[in-house]
């Protein structure tokens, strides 16, 4: 995980702070005590993990971009929306395969849809970085304004291209329903989301910790000028990170669209609120924090939604406030802030 390197004796070694991870486990166990029924608890936990991991997929790019270049993209939700809309269109093309009752055929429809979502969101991200954000590096106020403006325009363009009505994005038959193990019901799509989300997380961690590019990115988050002084073009690296972040948001958007089985242009704006809460909880710029934050938000939303639906809406805000009272800079504060 990209927890900030603590100053240690001889060689700086990143020490992972396990307290927030334990918090996740503690919340899960505490919820078990309150819920009582093991089967309900497992169902809720899987649902929470699925939701959390989908949010993580969408949020990870945003937090990395902020950590690396100090850019906060308020139009990140746009990539989510584009991913979902492109997935709808591609699924329509492969509607025969998507409707068939065989796993292979279904995957043959979903894979191109997800791939197209990733590519479309990535390309849009490239365009966005080059045209919209580039002139406003280092100016926070203008970044917020310009990315919000970009989102307004893009939302309207989505209306022009896809129409203003809500679209349906049906899950293929083999991914509907749930596995029954004893009296525990596990929704198939949620399990698939968990698998994809974990794969993304592991992939990101490996990329950041085991490759040279990852080393440069982490170094850039810590100290941008120093990396530049070493002769690396941090701008190029940043473009790459931005595009990957946008592509991940597109993937997350497509999956979230399937999760909800409907897509409107508001999908991005709705997710943005959760994403902001997650990356604030995690500590702006920290991928590991984003992961833990996303799991916390997903789990708490599902547990509270079951235990007392009345306050479920406020649970995320409440969680954020409590975490910020405990650690004002988020769970994993970045060293430079």
């Amino acid at each position: 995980m990209s927890a900030p390197a603590a100053q240690s004796d001889a060689l700086p070694q990143s020490r992972i702070d396990f307290v927030p991870v334990l918090l996740v486990v503690a919340i899960a166990l505490g919820a078990f005590a309150l819920i009582g029924s093991p089967s309900t608890w497992v169902t809720l936990t899987v649902a929470g993990l699925a939701m959390g991991l989908l949010i993580f997929i969408m949020a990870s790019g945003l937090t990395l971009v902020f950590g690396l270049m100090d850019v906060m993209n308020f139009a990140h939700g746009l990539f989510i929306a584009i991913g979902a809309y492109v997935a709808v269109s591609v699924m329509k093309v492969f509607s025969a395969a998507a409707g068939a009752d065989s796993l292979a055929a279904n995957l043959g429809a979903i894979a191109p849809a997800l791939l197209a979502a990733i590519v479309a969101a990535g390309l849009l991200g490239l365009f966005f970085e080059r045209v919209i954000i580039r002139p406003v590096y280092g100016q926070h106020l203008k970044q917020i304004l310009i990315t919000t403006g970009g989102m307004i325009v893009a939302e309207q363009l989505i209306h022009v291209l896809w129409g203003a009505d809500q679209l349906t994005l049906l899950r293929p038959p083999t991914l509907r329903g749930s596995f029954l193990i004893g009296d525990i019901a596990l929704e198939k799509f949620r399990l698939a989301s968990v698998v994809i989300g974990l794969a993304t997380f592991v992939g990101l961690v490996l990329l950041l910790n085991r490759t040279k590019i990852g080393l440069l990115i982490r170094a850039g988050v810590e100290n941008k000028e120093m990396v530049e002084a070493m002769g690396y073009r941090i701008r190029r690296l940043f473009v790459a990170v931005f595009v990957v972040g946008a592509a991940l948001a597109g993937l997350g958007g497509a999956l979230w669209g399937m999760y909800q089985e409907s897509v409107t242009v508001l999908i991005g704006a709705q997710m943005m609120v959760l994403i902001f809460i997650v990356i604030i909880i995690g500590g702006l710029g920290s991928v590991g924090g984003c992961f833990v934050g996303a799991l916390l938000v997903g789990l708490v939303a599902n547990y509270v939604g079951y235990l007392s639906p009345k306050i479920a809406l406020g649970s995320n805000i409440l969680l954020m406030v409590v975490i910020l009272l405990w650690r004002p800079q988020g769970l994993y504060p970045m060293s430079k802030q």
Binding site: H140, I144, L324
Partner: protein, 353 residues
């Protein structure tokens, strides 16, 4: 006299002065100049939004903080009036109770949010306010036994303001002198007074400190000003005026609901108005709100014509579809941020020199 009223902040551009006077006269005489309910609706909305946008400009343009919770305070004002008049009798007392309660809630909330997040970066504040405002919007639509949920609350106003009320038996200059006219002038007068008060605030020593914070908060701090205190006061002041704007809007509509006050789309509208009109110039709020609200109501008719004329050309009719008018304002917004950071007012002032 004029200088005192405007707190010495003259338009500083001949064209701007002419436009401002034209807007002022049109609004002051709106019931007589533009007959019809729709025109009066537009005029009242312009008054309310000038005030709302000016209070937002205090934050964005003068203090340099981006808040996404401005509609929340606008909504608190509207709901305060609506809940008070439906629970109590529709009297002036109930309106006062509602307005005062709404102000108190807004001040407390803005103070808390400010205390919590204004110490850190502008971005952090923007994100927190976005989260809090969206939470508040959901809350308002869920607590339907208090707020009326998605349907909102339709309420009665005091006798004097009701449409059926007649002050004079015979129409004056062809206009009925009744409850609607009185309500309009109440809205207009209150908005005017509050706008001048805001103008006073930004041209006071306090306003100068805000500008200093916007330009360089580190330096302002070094000069001995407590930036957090000033930012928090500006935040509370902006929230209070937004609440009063919400009160006025609710009085005019005799209705409060999520779609007229809390919707994120309104927040976007406010941003567009501030930036296009001109950040950091109170007059920008007047221009921005007037242009935007008039366009919102009349541009669509024009676009319907254009869209019909472009029939047959691919994509163009869709781009010119009346529902897509926000697209063009969005483009204007982005261009404004890049090329005219001081908006229309700033541009007019540069041309003069």
């Amino acid at each position: 006299m004029i200088d005192t009223l405007l707190s010495g902040d003259r338009p500083r551009s001949r064209i701007l002065a002419v436009v401002l006077v034209a807007i002022f006269v049109s609004l002051a005489a709106a019931p007589f100049l533009f007959p019809g309910t729709r025109a009066l609706d537009v005029a009242a909305k312009v008054c309310v939004f000038v005030l709302l946008v000016a209070s937002y400009d205090l934050l964005l343009g003068y203090t340099g903080i981006v808040s996404f919770a401005h509609t929340m305070f606008f909504g608190i004002g509207g709901y305060g009036i609506a809940i008070a008049t439906t629970r109590l009798d529709p009297t002036w007392g109930a309106i006062a109770v509602g307005a005062v309660a709404a102000l108190a809630i807004s001040l407390a909330l803005s103070f808390l949010i400010g205390l919590f997040s204004l110490r850190v970066k502008a971005i952090f504040f923007a994100m927190i306010t976005l989260a809090v405002a969206s939470f508040f919007a959901i809350l308002a639509s869920q607590l339907s036994n208090i707020t009326g949920g998605e349907d909102g609350i339709t309420f009665k106003v005091p006798e004097l303001l009701r449409p059926g009320f007649r002050l004079l038996e015979a129409p004056l200059l062809g206009v009925t002198i009744g409850g609607r006219l009185i309500t309009y002038y109440l809205v207009f007068g209150a908005a005017l007074v509050l706008f001048l008060a805001l103008l006073r605030a930004v041209n006071s020593p306090f306003g100068r400190v805000l500008l200093a914070i916007r330009e360089n908060d580190f330096r302002a701090e070094a000069l001995g000003y407590r930036t957090v205190t000033y930012r928090t006061i500006a935040n509370c002041l902006g929230a209070a005026v937004a609440t009063l704007a919400g009160v006025l809007y609710a009085l005019w509509l005799r209705y409060t609901g999520p779609n007229t006050t809390l919707d994120f789309a309104i927040m976007i509208d406010i941003l567009l108005m501030v930036v296009i009109g001109g950040m950091g110039t109170m007059y920008g709020a007047v221009l921005g709100a007037t242009i935007f609200v008039v366009a919102q109501n009349y541009l669509q008719d024009l676009m319907k014509l254009a869209s019909g004329a472009a029939k047959g050309i691919p994509l163009l009719p869709d781009l010119l579809h009346p529902d897509r008018w926000l697209l063009w304002f969005g483009v204007l917004f982005v261009l404004s941020v890049y090329y005219f950071p001081r908006g229309i007012v700033g541009q007019l002032r540069t041309w003069r020199t």
